[in-house]
Amino acid sequence: MHSDHGDVHASVRKYFMIGAALLIFTGITVAANLMHLAIPLAITVALAIAITKASMVAAVFMHLSDEKKWIYGALLLTVVFFIVLMSVPSFTNMDSIGRHEPAIGGGEHPAGH
């Protein structure tokens, strides 16, 4: 923790630099969007940048780069369950025996010979 004054002084510069870097990354995201990349690539780029930015905020502004093991532990657990949660979409659709189709007005209903 940055409690003695010299330490905090040193960090101040870092805070402004990270702030600037975040703004630059924002610019890059918007610029990349103007290039109209193919959707999968655009998603990858945008998410990669967002994750980088988020890591910078967490590591520096939230001092995560220098935390105690209990906090890491709690966050690790959260990340694990977060990943489980993010797999809900695939659980919902991946392995369903059904087809998405309304009961009425789904056009031709299946059944041939």
């Binding site: 923790m1 489980v84 809900v88 919902t92 392995d95 369903s96």
Partner: protein, 593 residues
């Protein structure tokens, strides 16, 4: 760097600490008993409110059991008070039956058991057991109770709105829940209850991690504390997805979105005018993502209570304490990856069902380990059949029945036949009613002397136990017979229209009488409870000759709990230590006592 900073702050902190507003000066009645920040008062508030909700939820069920026993006959006594919209001429309407069912489930789970087990016992006992003066955040603790209270009041008031209370089951599956009456208020109430649990769980975790007394290392924690700690993590990380889902359902109902409404719906012959594009199964995933961990929230505190009582009344250490701790942590962890075993019939393919069947079988093993450890703890014991011990002992086979009947449900092919039948109802009531509720009763009898300085009456206690034990089994055991025969749950007329039910319908009558008998049996408890507050036998600090820290505080403990700072010298269950003078060596007594 760390040392420097902690040193600096400590020095500062002590010098400048402002006089806490609730320091030693006298507090008014309101601040002391109503808007209190003392964990013991809040715990008791939680416990009493929770008990009242349990009683209320049970009353709803007793009305339902009348309808199931005698479908379409006017309800005696209270029938005519229910009003035209619920029971014209005292005869229950199907929509009212559904309201009772949904609200029974909601009230029992979210407003009865969790507040009593976590809010009540957790609040009252946990800080005492770890030697803390209070919870880490007393004001947040108070806020958590009042959020619960508001949620509870909201739910109760929902009975009086037009169209009545929520009626789509406690599971609130859309599209039904998106279009049925009463659901909006239910969702708002749930948001309050969820908020309350989140605040509470943060408090419990921080308290356990930060405020343990000197010498109280992790493997010296009473098992109850472990159970509460795991429970808190479940609440903390599993509830938010349900909160999100509740917000989405509220949007569907209030803002006209269709998160859970697919395109092309036709309701009562008319196309539903919404944008569509939603997914009803999504709700089920989010709901069960919470609700499976939630069922362990219902059971773990009860397991913790039972373990304390078994150690105390067998006069010996818990057998396999460490294995129990690892198991409870493992259960907590696994409970996040089994949720879809409630959804086998939603059209799951082989891969996914194989995954969830496997995790479900895996999670049953640590439960077996804990139960086995508790059973083996009885070997070589010197069992005292006190009232709390009666309930704690009964917990073992009752939870056993409930847990074992989870297995055929967890295997998808046998679940085809059993899903949504009374077998499921039987399964989980064995774990929550003669399981958890018995565990909670045990806890009330056990810690009542700590909270009031008086013991509850043993004769009334024994009567309460035996009558409840007989009646509760008569209510729930026939459910397995009904379920295997195929009787569906949530049936307004008890399923009398279906041929395959004919051979088991008569059980409904038996269950009806048994449930009213169970209701009467509670009178022993209620009388005992209130009578003992005033006239119970006065006791000293440690009436059960127990070893954990709460018994070193006065009964009832004052503000700040301990007269001197407690120091822990040994493990939690050092009973009958060879060579010791007495058959218990408390954690708080130094070696040469």
């Amino acid at each position: 760097m760390d040392n420097v900073s902690s040193h600096g702050t400590t020095a500062h902190g002590h010098v400048h600490e402002p006089p806490h507003e609730h320091a030693h000066e006298e507090l008014g009645w309101w601040r002391k008993y109503v808007f209190s920040v003392d964990h013991k008062v809040i715990g008791i508030q939680y416990a009493i409110t929770g008990l009242l909700f349990l009683l209320f939820g049970f009353c709803l069920m007793m009305i339902m059991r009348w309808q199931l026993a005698y479908p379409g006959r006017p309800i005696p006594l209270i029938g005519q008070w229910l009003g035209q919209a619920r029971a014209p001429m005292g005869i229950m309407l199907p929509e009212f039956y559904n309201q009772l069912g949904a609200m029974h489930g909601t009230i029992m789970v979210f407003m009865g058991v969790v507040p009593l087990a976590v809010g009540g016992f957790g609040n009252f006992v946990l800080p005492l057991q770890i030697g803390a003066p209070d919870m880490a955040f007393p004001k947040i603790n108070m806020a958590s109770y009042w959020a619960y209270f508001l949620g509870g009041v909201t739910m109760l008031l929902s009975f009086f709105q037009r169209g009545g209370a929520a009626q789509s089951g406690w599971t609130s599956y859309p599209p039904l829940a998106d279009i049925a009456d009463g659901q909006t208020v239910w969702l708002i109430g749930m948001v309050f209850l969820i908020t309350s649990s989140l605040l509470g769980s943060i408090n419990f975790i921080v308290t356990t991690v930060q405020l343990r007394a000197k010498g109280l290392s992790w493997m010296r924690l009473p098992f109850f504390v472990w159970a509460q700690l795991v429970t808190s993590f479940l609440l903390l990380l599993a509830f938010p997805p349900l909160e999100a889902a509740a917000v989405l359902q509220l949007m569907d109902r209030l803002a006209g979105t269709s998160f859970f409404l697919p395109s092309g719906l036709v309701i009562s012959g008319k196309p539903l005018a919404v944008a569509g594009g939603g997914n009803p199964v999504l709700w089920q995933h989010l709901f069960w993502f919470l609700a499976h961990p939630e069922v362990y929230v219902l059971i773990l505190p009860a397991m913790g209570i039972v373990s304390e009582i078994i150690a105390n009344n067998t006069r010996k250490p818990l057998w396999g304490y460490k294995a129990m701790v690892y198991s409870v942590v493992f259960i907590g962890f696994m409970s996040f990856v089994v949720w879809a075993h409630h959804m086998f019939m939603t059209g799951m393919g082989t891969t996914m069902s194989a995954f969830f069947q496997t995790t479900t079988m895996i999670i049953s093993i640590p439960s077996v380990v804990i139960l086995t450890a508790l059973l083996l703890s009885l070997w070589g014991a010197s069992i005292r059949f006190t009232t709390p011990m009666l309930f704690a002992l009964a917990f073992l086979p009752m939870f056993g029945i409930g847990g074992l009947t989870g297995l055929p449900l967890g295997l998808a092919p046998s679940d085809i036949h059993l899903h949504d039948t009374y077998y499921v109802i039987g399964h989980f009531h064995y774990v929550v009613a003669p399981g958890t509720i018995f565990g909670l009763f045990a806890g009330v009898y056990y810690w009542f002397p700590k909270a009031t300085g008086r013991k509850m009456n043993d004769l009334l206690g024994a009567l309460h136990f035996w009558t409840s034990f007989v009646c509760i089994n008569l209510v729930f055991m026939p459910m397995f017979i009904e379920g295997l025969a195929g009787m569906n749950r949530r049936m307004y007329d008890g399923g009398m229209q279906y041929k395959y039910n004919a051979s088991v319908l008569h059980w409904n009558v038996v269950q009806g009488y048994a449930s009213w008998g169970l209701g009467l049996a509670q009178i022993f408890f209620i009388v005992n409870f209130f009578m003992s507050i005033k006239w119970g036998k006065a006791v000293d600090r440690n009436p059960w000759e127990a070893t954990t820290l709460e018994w070193s505080a006065p009964s009832p403990p004052g503000h700040g709990n301990f007269l001197t700072e407690p120091i822990v010298y040994r493990g939690p269950y050092e009973y009958s230590v060879p060579g010791a003078a007495r058959d218990f060596s408390p954690q708080f007594e130094p070696e040469k006592a």
